[in-house]
Each structure stands twice: as C-alpha cells, then as structure tokens.
Amino acid sequence: MEFGYTIWIALIPFLAFLITGLAGHRMKPMVSGLIGTVGIGIATLLSYVAAHQYFFGVGKVDGVYQKIIGYKMEWLRFSETLAIDMGVLLDPISVMMLVVITTVSLMVHIYSLGYMAGEKGFARFYAFLGLFSFSMLGLVVATNIFQMYIFWELVGVSSYLLIGFYYNKPSAVAASKKAFIVTRFADFGFLVGILLLSYITGTFDFVLLTDPEGAAITQGSGIAFMGLSVMTWSLILVFMGGAGKSAMFPLHIWLPDAMEGPTPVSALIHAATMVVAGVFLVARLFPVFALSAPAGLEIVAIMGAFTSLFAAVIACTQNDIKRILAYSTMSQIGYMMLALGVSGYGGADGLGYMASMFHLFTHAMFKALLFLGAGAIIHAVHSNFISDMGGLRKYMPVTHITFLIACLAIAGIPPFAGFFSKDEILVAAYQNHMLYFLVEYIVAGLTAFYMFRLYYGVFWGKEKTYEHAPHEAPASMTIPLIILAIGSATTGFIPFQKLVTSDGMAFDIHFHWNIALPSIGIAIAGILLATAFYRKGSDMPDKIAAGLGGLYRAAYRKFYIDEVYQFITKKIIFNLISRPIAWFDRQIVDGSMNGIAYITNMVSAGMKDLQSGQLQQYAFVLVSGVLILVLSLVYLMNN
C-alpha cells in the first residue's frame, strides 16, 4: 500500500506522548520538549510527502481526486454486517488538514520551547500536546464516523487537559471544566446523530456514506418527523456536535474562557485545529448535507452568519488581547460555516465549499500567528490587557511586523492570504442570498476595525510604564512567527479550486471585481477608523461607547449569554429538575440501597460463628453438606 506510512503521521505524536508522559519527569525538561518537537517534525515531513504524493501524484484519477484508504484494520466486529474500523482515509480535505495540523502543531511545539521554558510541568505540557496532535490527526483521517467520534472525544479530553494546564489556578480549572461540559453536551447530539444516521444508512463508513451515487444518499432519507426527514434531523444533530467544538452560537461560551490555557495552546487548539473540527465535520459529510438534507445546510448557514456577526461585535468591545482573538476566531469560523451552508455540490456550484476550506487553511496560518504573537507580547509585559500595553513596536520589532502581517491578512487586504479566501466566501454568499452577503460584508469591516484597534493599542498609542523594559522574544519564539507570517502572506496564492473541491474535480473561478473592490474598501475604512481612534489615543471611542450606552455595555458583557446559561442551569434546571431528582436519589434509591447493605451486613455478622476455627466442626459441616446434597438430589431424582 503506497500510503501505508500515513498511519505514522498520527502514531508518532502518540509515541511522543507516551514517552514524555511516562518518562517525562525523569528527563531534563528540555529533552522531553525536544522529543515532542522532533516527533511532530517527522510527522510534518511525512504529511508534506503525503500531500505532495496525493495532490501531484496518485491522488488524481481522470481529473478527479479520489478517496484513498491509506491504512485500515478491523477494530471491533459486532455482527456480520456491522464492524468498526480504524484507518486512514485520504482525500483532499483530510490531506489538507494533515498539513495544517502538523504545521501549526510543529510551530507551537517550537514556540513553546521558549514560551514555556522554566514552567513547572514542562514535560507534562509536551505530553499533552502530543496527545492532542495524535487525537486531532486521528480525527481528520478517520475512515468512518465512529472512529471520528472516538478521536473527537479524545480531542475534547486533551483540550480539557491543556486548558486546565495551570491546575492550581481556579479560573483555569473552571474554564477547562466549562469547555469540557459544554462540548460534551454538544457531543451528545453528535452521538445521537451518528446513531440515527447509521441506522438509516446502514453504514458508518465515510466512503459509502458520502458517495453521491451510493445507497446512503439516494435512498436513505427516512421517514419525515416534524416536517423534516430523519436524515435531516440526524445531520442537524451531528452538526450540533460540530457547533459545540467550533464554538457556534449558542454553544460558544466555553471558547473565551478557554483562553485561561497557556497561549501556545490557544494558538494550536482554539485557533487553528480543534475549533475547525466542526467545519471539517460538515465538510466531511458535505455530500450528504447537500444532496439529501438541504434544510440542514440552511441551518448551518444561518448559524454561521449569526455567529460571525455576533462575535465580531463583541470583539470590538473587549480589552483582553486573547479574548479579542477568541471572539475573532468564532467570527471567522462563522464565515467558514456560512460558506459551507451556502454552497452547492459539484463543480462551480461548490464554490462555497472550496472557499470554506480555503479560509480554514489561511485562517489557521494567520490566527496561529496572531495567538503566538499575542503570546510573545504577554510574555514581555506580563499582562493580558490592552490597557497595560502601548508603544511596543520599538521594543519588539519582529513581533510587531509579523503581527501586522497577520492583521492585514485577517482584515482582507490584498495580497495577504485572508483577502483571497474571504473574497471567495463573499462571492459564494452573494450568489446564494443577499442577506448573507450583507452580514458578512459588515463583519469584514468590523474585523478590520477590531484587529487594528488591537494592533494600535498594543504597538502604538501611549507608552505605558513597564516594570522592566519589554524585550523581543527569544529565537525559538520568533522563528515560528516568521514562518507563519510567510504563510499568512503567501498561502492566498494556492489554487484551491484546483485542489480541494466538493466533488474532487477542478473548476475555474472568475475574479469578481464588483465584490472584491467594495470588500477592500470596507476593510480599509475599518482600518482608517481604528487608526484615527487608537493610533495616538483619543477620547472619541469612549464618547461613542457612552453614546451607545446599553448596547455597548451589552456587547462588553458578551450579550449576557453566560448569565442566561447561569439562569437556565442554576435557577430552572437545578430547582425544577435536579433537586427533585436528588431528593429521590437520596431518599428512595440510596435508602433502598442502604437497606440492602444493612441486611447484608446483618446476615454476614450472623453467619460469622460458622467460621469457628474448630476442625471438628469443619469436618462435620463438610460431611453433612455432602449428605444434604445427596438426600435432596436423590429425592429430586426420584420425583
């Protein structure tokens, strides 16, 4: 099998996890860091080789990119027809994801050598990074939806471990719990969706499931329930899992809190890889969505559009640098979801699909760069808040320039990567519905505004008094920044329409000046506004904020979504459901159990005398035991 080696892309980080996890405390911290870094480095090389071999070699047959099973083993067999496999499925999106994950993960591994140096639990950190990389890689190459679910949960666990890395900090512990519970709640929908989906289609396998001519799509819509087919319901439930991991409204509340984790973790998990798992999930099942459940796709589009606007508005009001980036991530993932939601299947109809994957790719580059840059800044000034920063451009030139490139990329200024992918999304939205286009158009302006608000606030503005003069980060941190900056500047030129498309066939795109020019225009407008407000520092923003009054406060308090959750869980669920159940559990269930335990104990105490230590008595019991057996059985036999 020519792609057999791809299994090692996932397994090597796992081995690194085992080594650093089991023996990490015995090595020098740096050694475990290097083991992890070298491991992911090899995996990165392998995935580049695989990508090259796939995209420019054997992947394409008669102009169509094939789904190739690189490796497969049967893991659990339930019955003649139903078995769960573990394996590697290679197709354009999984190969692309391999490249994204290993690249960003490698950058984060290198970066953390500097960022985490001297931290307690350095080896543990690298072990968790290895586990996460393994889980994420296993997720994207899954050959069937069950394997994906297993790795999906593993991703959740490793994210939990990494967010709660500073386990003696209560806020980190609370955040990790919140992330785990919220995503786990969403995964419940995912699981039910999987079961429904496999029930109507009779298969877990992605290749069978997503074959446009296959039985799953042509016959498997199932009966209707509440106006939608069972197929649609199952996909909506599956999307619920995706929405949880990808922080779509209203399951987004864990993402801002997850910023309690170490910053490199935020770059890896909460910017480039795990949070796009939901997008990947929808893309993986895209033929099923597009061909047999268009209503499901509609929901994806609405959720995406709403989240992108909602998060962008909040991002404009926040002060914590990482939280701004977190909301920006939500907003950008909303973009990707919207693009999937408005896309059709096959050829040029699949523009949205291509654009979504394209944006996923470019976003991974510049968002990882932003987070790592933020890490370098936090490292220098020991604070997360913009109000504690200002004028840093003089002290940190490399961070400054790379950060600026990332801001330009996310704002959509040509020729940086974000411009191209975002433009395709806007075109796709425009072709589907004007409303989607307008929303995304506004979001593009907001994005440019809040990113440059951040940029000016940190690097320009009034210089603050620092405890000790900020200095540039060490080379292990700046090199990943530079590499990612190059990626952010150039990846926009990759011809995605030739490589990653909904049906594997290349198509041509036309440049829409009528959309590109206004979108550049609004981005520049956003930047100019931010320049006017924040470059020198002015009191205009405060006045406007005061003018907006309640609206600003609502956005600042993240539209009170956390409070709504608190109210629903604490006041409604706890009081109306949990308390009565708890009472029943304590009084009735525990009561009967205690009763049984009490009786067991009494009987046990009563029998104690049988074990007297007297051999005569033992012999007596033995012989009488035989006799009783004999008598009772002979009696039974003769009746």
Binding site: T600, M607, L610, L622, L629, L633
Partner: protein, 473 residues
C-alpha cells in the same frame, strides 16, 4: 510403545527433571552458596514454563491411564505460568535468614505438587486421577506448614492435611461406587456405562465433593480461611490460584466426558453450590480485615462465579471457565504479589495498614488497584471480560435467575474490593507504610501480572484460541 512416546508426558518429565535438579543443587551447593539456589530454581522453572509452550505431541500412554490433548497442554501451561509467578514472588521471602537453608526444599515441594496436578489433569482413569490428587495435596500441606517457627503456619498445615484426608476419603468412596456399578476405572470405559441409577448419582456426588473441597465450594470451604491465613503468603496465593485452577480443570473435563450422562444431577448441584458459594464467600469477605483472609473469601466467591461457566455447558462454558481462570491467575497473583511484598518488609497485613499507601508506594498501589479492579470485573481490565463470558455462558443456557444472583453478588464484591482501593488512595494515615523497594524478581512477577490483566482482555485471539480447543473436547 517406543521411547519417543514418553515425549507425550513432556510436561511431567520436565518437572521431574527440575525436581531432581533441585535435589542435586541442594547436595552440591555449600552452606554459603545456598542462596544461589533461588535464582537457579527460578531460571530452571522459567525454562520449563517456556518450553511448555512449544508444540507437543498428544495422545495416550500406559494403556490409557495417561492422556493428553492440546486443551490439556494449555491447562498445564496456565498452571506453569501461575507457579512461575508464585516462584518469582517468593524470592525475597526465601532469602530471609529463617528460610535461607530451605530454599531447595521449597522449590522441590512446589514442583512436586505441580507434577501431581499435571498427572491429575492428564489422568485417563480414576486411579491416576487419585494418585495425582494425593501427590498434589501432600507436599502442599508441607508447604503450608513451611514456616515451622510460626504457630499459625503449623496450624494451617495440620488443618489442611486433616481436612484433605477427609475429603480424599469421600472421593475414594465415590470412586469405588462408580467402579462397583460399572466394573471399570478407565474414563472411556466408564462413560458409556453411566446410566444414572442412584448408586452412580451417589458416587458422582461423593466424587464431586472431593474436587469441590479443593476448589473451596460452599459448604466444603471451611478449611480455606484458616489455612490461607496461617500459611505463608506465597503458599496462600498458590493455594488460591494454582491448586484451585487444577481442580477446576479436571472437574470440567470429567463433567463433560465421563459424567455427561448425569447432566441433570450435575447441573442441579452446580446451580445450588454456585449460589451458595458466591453469596457466602461475599458475605464473609465483607467482614475481613486481614488481607489474606479477605482474599481467601473473595476467592471463594470467585469460584462461585466460575461455576456459572461450568453450568454453561460444553463450548462457551468450558471456554469461559478456562479464559476466566487464565485472567484470574494474573489478577489474584497480582494482588497477592503486592501483599507478599508489603507483608515481607513490614509484616503488615490488615486493610487499615494500607491507608495512604498511594502516597508512599504509588506503583504497588497501582498494581494492587488494577488487580482488584480485575477481580471485581471493572472494564477495561481483563477481569471484566472474563466475568462477562462466564455470565454469557450461563445466560446462553437459560439460567437467568442464576445470572441475576451472580450480578447482585458482583455488586457486593465491588464494595469490598473498592474498600481496599479506597484505603490505599483516599484514606489518610498518620503512619503510612514507608516506601518499599521490592526486589527484581517480584517486580518481574508484577509486570507479568499487569501485562496479563491488560493484554488478555483486549487480545481476542486468546479467547478464540481457547474456544477452538474447547470445542474439540
């Protein structure tokens, strides 16, 4: 019959050779070199165990007195493995000054009982069976009384030999009744002549009693707790694992071959004793504070669970029994290994002594926890799968009520197993057991146990292999 046919008895011959080597070593090693017998013996026994896994010829010898098959060879290998682990765990205890001069004696006795068990499983007639049974029992009593300087050990030996002779007498009585009604002692000749008349039923029940005594089936179990508590830890683990396994092996072989015609009676007896054994074993185990006694009763309860497989009929039933025993060997020996190490260094054997053990001895606590989880049947440790198949075998035959009772008992057992885990991990202690460095042999033994508990559950190939062999019985 030529000289090569003796290779059919390869297991017994190798063990005999090992025993002779022990005698030679005892004679040729000087007083100061005595301690070197221990590694030598372990090495020899390891070699015997390893060679046992090589493919061996099968067939019968001595006009049908001795027989062997692939399934029987597997059983012997399981016993060998168990004894090997016990030997590993004994090393540090044997090095104590009080035992130092008697190392070869220990191994000689150990190997002798194992030879007896091998002959018992391989028996082709009742005479060979009985000889094997006695050869297995008598050295065991000597082992139980090995620590002659301890009153309890002597008491344990004397109690074992007296109860064992009583049960042997009953067994012989049963065998003579079967001989009386069929006119033969050869299994293959007796089998077609078993018709189920009252005398044969009586004979079977007496015969069954003898084996039930060995397996500690209620109400023939009373010797167990006293003997287990008094005997040295390693002998206790031997008694509770290897000797029990051997008796179970021959019981399932005979139940489904010679006494197949008495199925109606046999299932009734097994049904009743299974319930009694599980329940009584559990109820006593709850109250124990001494860990050896605790494991003694819990192993009684385990025997009751195993009877669910015995009642499960040929095929899945036999498979599940052998599979469970294989897992049980590793789980119980794992637990006993930890107890042996701790008792050897500190003399502490009570559950409250283990409070806070995790803080001082994390590795030992983890091995203990895994073993107890496996005994309790908590996934993903192998014990879960073992119990699952036992229950499945009984359910397949329609004994739902029995399975229900077994499940209830499994819950009770969970309670007391977790009690120990709680002591180790949650309870705090003013004077926890200080950090212990176990010797290399004991560590190897524990690693083997942990490997066994993890691997056997997941490697379905092992279960499949046992199943293919069982179908050939």
């Amino acid at each position: 019959m030529n000289i090569e046919s003796f290779l059919i008895m390869r297991h017994e011959l190798m063990l005999t050779l090992a025993a002779v080597l022990m005698l030679i070593a005892e004679l040729s090693f000087g007083k100061s070199e005595k301690s070197r017998i221990i590694p030598l013996a372990i090495f020899i026994f390891g070699a015997v165990t390893a060679v046992g896994f090589l493919p061996a010829p099968t067939g019968s010898l001595f006009g049908g007195m001795y027989q062997t098959s692939a399934l029987i060879i597997l059983m012997k290998n399981i016993l060998n493995l168990g004894v090997f682990i016990v030997c590993l765990q004994s090393a540090s205890w044997l090095k104590l000054p009080v035992n130092q001069d008697k190392g070869s004696e220990y191994f000689l006795l150990m190997i002798s009982t194992l030879i007896g068990m091998n002959f018992m499983i391989s028996a082709g007639d009742f005479l060979m069976f009985y000889l094997g049974l006695e050869l297995a029992t008598i050295p065991l009593t000597a082992l139980a009384a090995y620590e002659t300087y301890k009153m309890k050990s002597a008491e344990s030996g004397i109690k074992l030999i007296l109860s064992a002779s009583l049960s042997s007498g009953i067994t012989l009585f049963g065998i003579s009744m079967i001989y009386g009604t069929t006119g033969s002692i050869y299994f293959n000749e007796v089998a077609p002549l078993i018709t189920g008349d009252n005398l044969q039923v009586l004979g079977f029940l007496f015969f069954f009693t003898g084996l039930a005594f060995k397996i500690s089936i209620v109400p023939f179990h009373l010797w167990t707790a006293d003997v287990y508590e008094g005997a040295p830890v390693n002998i206790t683990s031997y008694l509770s694992v290897v000797s029990k396994a051997a008796a179970l092996f021959i019981l399932i072989i005979l139940m489904f071959t010679v006494f197949n015609a008495l199925e109606v009676v046999a299932t009734k007896v097994v049904y009743v004793t299974a319930i009694l054994t599980m329940t009584v074993g559990n109820l006593f185990a709850i109250r124990q504070q001494n860990l050896k006694r605790f494991l003694a009763f819990s192993s009684i309860a385990q025997a009751g669970f195993i009877f669910l497989g015995v009642i499960g009929g040929p095929g899945l039933g036999i498979t599940s029994v052998i599979y469970f025993i294989l897992i049980y060997v590793f789980s119980n020996l794992g637990a006993f290994g930890v107890i042996a190490v701790i008792s050897g260094k500190t003399g502490k054997e009570n559950i409250p002594d283990y409070n806070g053990l995790y803080l001082t001895n994390p590795k030992l606590s983890l091995v203990m926890m895994l073993s107890l989880f496996s005994l309790a049947g908590i996934p993903p440790v192998a014990g879960f799968f073992g119990k699952f198949f036992l229950f499945a075998a009984a359910a397949q035959q329609g004994y739902y009520i029995l399975v229900l009772i077994a499940v209830a008992n499994a819950v009770i057992s969970l309670y007391y197993y977790l009690l120990v885990v709680k002591a180790m991990f949650i309870n705090k202690s003013e004077q926890p057991i200080e950090p212990i460095h176990s010797d290399g042999f004991a560590r190897v033994g524990m690693v083997l146990c942990v490997l066994g508990m993890v691997v056997i559950g997941f490697a379905s190939i092992i279960f499949d292999y046992i199943e293919t062999l069982s179908r050939q019985l």
